[in-house]
Point group: C2
Chain length 416, copies 2
């Protein structure tokens, strides 16, 4: 079977399953997700044995990647518990978003329905197989999963358990499909499967996301970069500014919501040095403009490309700007429309920043590390989108739905 | 200048204008749209003279196309009045769609913001230059317009008047741009201008829409086909069924919401013949399955391709089906996810149809000809979308917006 024929077959089976899922009640979907969770628990021995095969093949990989790959009883229980949590989320499907009526008596109801078939292309982390697949099911969608070759045995074992769980309660196993080949041409076929796959969500490093965005003909929900800014206004509380700047960078440096550039109002010059020193003291490398360079001898000079770099490491670029206007201009030129935060006690300055910064998430007096579906209260997320269409920011159940309009008449014909 | 460089330049100017428009108040945008309308009125002589040039060049075109092209004082006044109506529409921008709070005190506000830069690719009708361009402005977006070569003089004159009107009240003329060349490569450049153009809306015949959907890398809002169905259930009121079937087909046959296939429940066999005869009597050609063929000697046999054909003419295909299930199956196999209607007095049957038919618009006891932004009460529409993402059905001001999330804190750092 060629990759195109394979994806065509999977796509048709997924569409058929999606049509069934779309009509299931919330309780039936939740039961299916819980059954998958339970099946994962019951398959622990097999899943861990298969995971060991992946780990044996991964001995040449960096330690961090081996760690992402590794499953143990505790992590597997975490995956099953996360699935149970998904089953407990409020169901967006069926929600009537808006109703209105026209003078001719026609009633209109805009109601949420599932998106259909979601393709997920991901790397090393086997938990995505369960998290993303079951999030799709809970929103009434079928999922076509294509995991990385490092995790092929783990993914197959997890997928087998999920399908067994779904089928136990009468849900078609085709609701969650795993592409059975590691042939990269299958990814290409998924990206071009318009009409079969409704949306693609890439989960992984920048090169994966870039390839998907470049080649896909199917709409993509993703973010390529997370070049997040914290702007410390002259009217900021210095303690709060220091605390948030350090947290936004250093809590976890490898996530997309980590601050990569610190912008400091020239009016904050009095307390700017303590923020820079706090970052340095926490072990962060600071690459500064000429003014920031003068604040501590440990600061290194920033090069032009630093302002466009997502480090994902304990490195931050830092510069002085001329108030909100300067910050907004810098972010417009160098940002990635992900998450940007202003620290200030001046409400008018905050309002200007929140209105003028064109990012999926704009914050006031909060750490950019809150850019996360869980922290938003969504319970789970399938990804963070920085595009402008459909869903923006953390995407969870609601972002995996669309709507239809019901028009309810009493025999109306349209006048000439 | 190459087409790519040209679109790049237009795109950058449009983005800059869009950033200004995004921050304008509702009243300022409305004033700009009204100023454009007034400028169109004041430029009547010039616009009609330029339109005459297009008409002179169009003498070889079909009469219908010449008519679409033609402007006269009344039509031009209609264009200006439509612009004033756009200025009076409620502004979706700034609307807070949803607010919520997390236990840590973070407040979340999802607020509507403009999409950004909208590309519109259209054929012959010069009114689109004003309608689509000014609808974009009212939603806070910049528009890049590319009209058909038949209307090149009319479009340039209308565009000149619009820009003059906008600039009179201090809005950048780059808010509404007209691609200055008829080089088809410019269309190709628009379709690939990711990052410069946020969404493309094609307005025109099927071949235009197909080309745009095929080539575009920018997201497209459109419908390719409008294969709309009316399903007459056994529990339908026969008078209502006849009235709606005739209206859905014959009120206007050339619009995308016109019925193309009539599905009749086998339980409606008693009154099916009168519906078929009513269509025939109105001058509609009926292509029927074997049962429908027996109802009147004027009925022609339907071929397999009839079930997949959007006639846009006084022709309808008609067949008997086995209840709601049969109707849903036929629509799933042959529909275009546009608009489908059930006629029945059985609420349970209606509910099943409304839930199971996977179309942007599903109707009960109403004519499919209501599939229109104006009839939905949107005041204007930029198009009808049958894709699954972002906006579905008639797209108006709200469909030309996206959202951002404001996260309002009081110094929160994210715990480890």
């Amino acid at each position: 079977m060629t990759p195109v024929t394979l994806i065509d077959t999977l796509g048709r089976e997924a569409r058929e399953a999606a049509q069934k899922l779309a009509l299931m009640t919330t309780e039936d979907k939740a039961e299916a997700v819980r059954a998958a969770a339970q099946s994962i628990r019951e398959s622990e021995a097999e899943i861990l044995a298969e995971n060991q095969k992946d780990l044996d093949n991964a001995s040449d990989l960096p330690a961090a990647m081996q760690d992402r790959l590794k499953l143990d009883p505790q992590r597997l229980a975490g995956i099953a518990d996360a699935a149970d949590a998904i089953a407990a989320l409020p169901d967006p499907v069926g929600e009537v978003i808006k109703t209105w009526e026209q003078p001719n008596g026609l009633k209109f109801e805009r109601v949420r329905v599932p998106l259909g078939v979601v393709g997920i292309i991901y790397e090393s982390r086997p938990n995505v197989t369960a998290d993303a697949g079951l999030l799709c099911v809970m929103a009434g969608n079928a999922a076509i999963l294509r995991g990385g070759s490092e995790a092929v045995h783990s993914n197959r074992a997890l997928h087998k358990a999920i399908v067994a769980g779904l089928e136990k309660v009468g849900v078609p196993g085709a609701a969650v499909q795993l592409v059975p080949t590691q042939d990269r041409a299958a990814v290409g076929a998924m990206l071009k499967a318009s009409g079969l796959i409704d949306i693609i969500v890439p989960r992984g490093g920048k090169s994966l996301v870039a390839r998907v965005q470049e080649e896909a003909r199917v709409p993509v929900l993703a973010h390529l970069d997370g070049i997040c800014h914290v702007y410390v206004d002259g009217a900021a509380d210095p303690d709060m500014a220091e605390k948030i700047a350090v947290n936004a960078k250093m809590r976890r440096t490898g996530i997309c919501g980590a601050m990569e550039t610190l912008l400091i109002d020239k009016a904050a010059i009095e307390f700017a040095p303590r923020i820079i020193r706090a970052l340095l003291d926490e072990g962060c490398e600071v690459r500064g403009d000429v003014t920031v360079n003068g604040m501590d001898e440990r600061v290194k000079p920033a090069a032009a490309e630093d302002w466009d770099t997502e480090y994902l490491e304990p490195i931050v670029s830092a510069k002085m700007v001329d108030g909100v206007t300067g910050a907004v201009e810098h972010i417009a030129a160098h940002g990635s429309h992900h998450t940007d935060s202003i620290i200030t006690d001046d409400q008018a300055a905050a309002n200007r920043f929140l209105a003028q910064v064109d990012s999926a998430i704009v914050m006031h007096n909060a750490s950019t590390q809150f850019a996360d579906g869980g922290e938003f209260g969504f319970g789970a997320e399938i990804g963070i989108a920085t595009g402008r269409l459909h869903a923006r920011g953390p995407v969870a159940l609601e972002g995996l739905t669309t709507y239809k309009t019901r028009v309810l008449g009493s025999g109306q014909a349209r006048p000439k």
